[in-house]
Amino acid sequence: MTGLQIAFLAIAAVTLASAVLVVSSRKIMHAALWLVLALGGIAALFATLEASFFAAVQVMVYIGAIAILIIFSVMLTRRVMEDTGPQNTRYWPAALVVSLGVFGGILFLFLQWPGFSVESRPGLEQGDLLVRFGQALVSPDEFVVPFEVASILLVAAMIGAMIIARDPSRK
């Protein structure tokens, strides 16, 4: 048991516990705050994977933007769901069974796969990695099409959402 493994287990436990609270918390606002903790835990896991760019981006985008937007929406729609009444549907035991079934299926597939217990990691040069990443994003042989399409997709989503979410009473 190395220090890294202990750190992994602690982070994973915190993340999973907050994820469970996200889906079970009665107050929707508290669920959103637990989501922030879960996302932070995932950022820490990215750091243990030495994906430092995505560890920082996880905090920047998920906590700094997406979680803020979700909290805003919770506040905006607060009046109707005054945290009274059940937050889960009547069929939640069925949902539990389905989720556990999916987990069992995934686990079954994993255990049959020989690469499951790989421990060694290939070497990695961090500075070089980001440069390679940037080159791959704009190189015509690799990912330039997804790169440009991502821009169009995001702009389309932005314009669509702005028009949908506008105050209908405004002229």
Partner: protein
């Protein structure tokens, strides 16, 4: 090994490492101890530095407003913040009914932590820095996101309408101004070819203030807005709305928001000096690291002085003006200057001097075009609701030339 007076921090670290290894500690344990000590030292010094900042800023603002500023406690009033600190430590915490306790208490801590976190990646000299993270810029932006989270927590958990409204105002302002800030930060990244803060400093043979003046201007304005102080202090406009997101806080919990604001103002000056003025770079800074620290402090205080001058001399924006300034001037300007810089810098990569000159000229053209072209359109055309009616018309014989009425 360099003599101790040239690089005392490295010297102490080496000495401590030797001592701890001599006691028979395992090397990984020694590294952990040094990490904790280093991080603790930087964070603690940054927190204590606020005491000086509060005195300095009050003194300077006093001078700007033709007052003395603090001058009673100690020589030049230098012990005034310490007296303030003793007072605020003995203030009662008033926790209103109906607050959501955990987020309520977490919010001031997050506000301070989000500013302190930036100090971890700033290179103070060539050798002394918290950590040379290769994604330092993203890290700085991410820690700003934590500050936004602290404000939204404070606004929501206080169970108060004013706090909630103030929180919304503050968050809308902070996230809006983050957009041109991150875009303008891309330009130093392009020029340096790295996201690491120290790499950006190393790459600045010529300070980026000359190669990217528009980016520097945008970064300065937006980071003023991020600190949430005048002229962008709509979040707690004390003369108009009650206080904003921190209305239900008292004692040191309120004090922590105050500390965060002062520290943030200094930290953005430090960041500006690092990213656009060359940080610790200067003559002989590579040979004598301690000298680099002196350069950094001097540059930071120049920027900090301008920040305080802004605070002391500009009136507050109206909220629609503030949003227009951001979305209709700064954001397009940041995007256009990014495009122009990327296109201009590429063919001239071999000639750094010509590159800087071309960038300077192109940035100037972009700036002038923007101010001439869109600046006038941005100004909102207001319909005149009614004509101002003169209340009292002076008698023609008594009419006197207009005089300034004075304060």
């Amino acid at each position: 090994m360099t003599p101790w007076y040239q690089d005392p921090v490295q010297f102490i670290a080496e000495w401590l490492r030797g001592v701890l290894l001599g006691w028979g500690m395992p090397p990984s344990g020694v590294e952990l101890v040094l990490t904790v000590l280093g991080a603790g030292t930087i964070a603690l010094l940054a927190m204590l530095w606020v005491v000086f900042l509060i005195w300095y800023e009050r003194k300077l603002i006093g001078r700007i407003q033709d007052r003395f500023g603090p001058n009673r406690v100690g020589p030049w009033g230098i012990f005034q913040p310490i007296a303030d600190m003793l007072k605020i430590f003995t203030k009662e915490y008033i926790t209103p009914e109906g607050v959501d306790r955990v987020p309520y208490n977490l919010a001031p801590i997050l506000a301070v932590a989000s500013v302190l976190l930036i100090w971890a990646v700033i290179p103070f000299t060539m050798t002394v820095m918290g950590v040379n993270l290769n994604v330092g810029i993203v890290y700085i932006i991410a820690s700003g996101g934590l500050g936004v989270l602290g404000i939204i927590l404070a606004g929501w958990s206080s169970n108060n309408k004013y706090a909630l409204l103030g929180g919304f105002r503050a968050v809308a302002q902070l996230v809006s101004y983050e957009v041109p800030m991150v875009v303008s930060l891309l330009i130093p990244v392009i020029l340096a070819g790295s996201l690491g803060v120290n790499d950006i400093v190393m790459a600045q043979r010529i300070p980026y203030l000359l190669s990217a003046p528009v980016a520097a201007l945008i970064f300065f304005i937006t980071s003023m807005a991020e600190t949430g102080r005048s002229p962008f202090d709509l979040t707690e406009a004390e003369s108009e709305i009650v206080a904003g997101f921190n209305i239900e806080y008292s004692g040191l919990k309120f004090g922590m928001f105050y500390v965060a604001e002062f520290l943030h103002a200094f930290t953005v000056s430090l960041l500006f000096a690092t990213l656009f003025l060359g940080g610790w770079r200067g003559p002989l800074a590579e040979q004598v690291p301690l000298l680099g620290f002196v350069y950094l402090v001097v540059k930071t205080f120049v920027v900090y002085f301008v920040v305080i001058l802004f605070r002391g001399s500009l009136p507050r924006f109206r909220i629609d003006q503030m949003m227009d300034l951001n979305w209709k001037l700064l954001t397009p300007l940041a995007l256009v200057s990014l495009v122009v810089s990327a296109l201009v810098a590429k063919p001239l990569e071999e000639m750094p001097l010509a590159q800087t000159l071309a960038l300077l000229v192109s940035n100037g053209i972009v700036l002038i075009l923007f101010i001439e072209g869109t600046g006038k359109k941005v100004q909102r055309k207001r319909e005149i609701v009614g004509k101002p009616r003169p209340l009292a018309v002076p008698h023609p014989e008594e009419q006197q030339p207009a005089q300034s009425t004075g304060g």
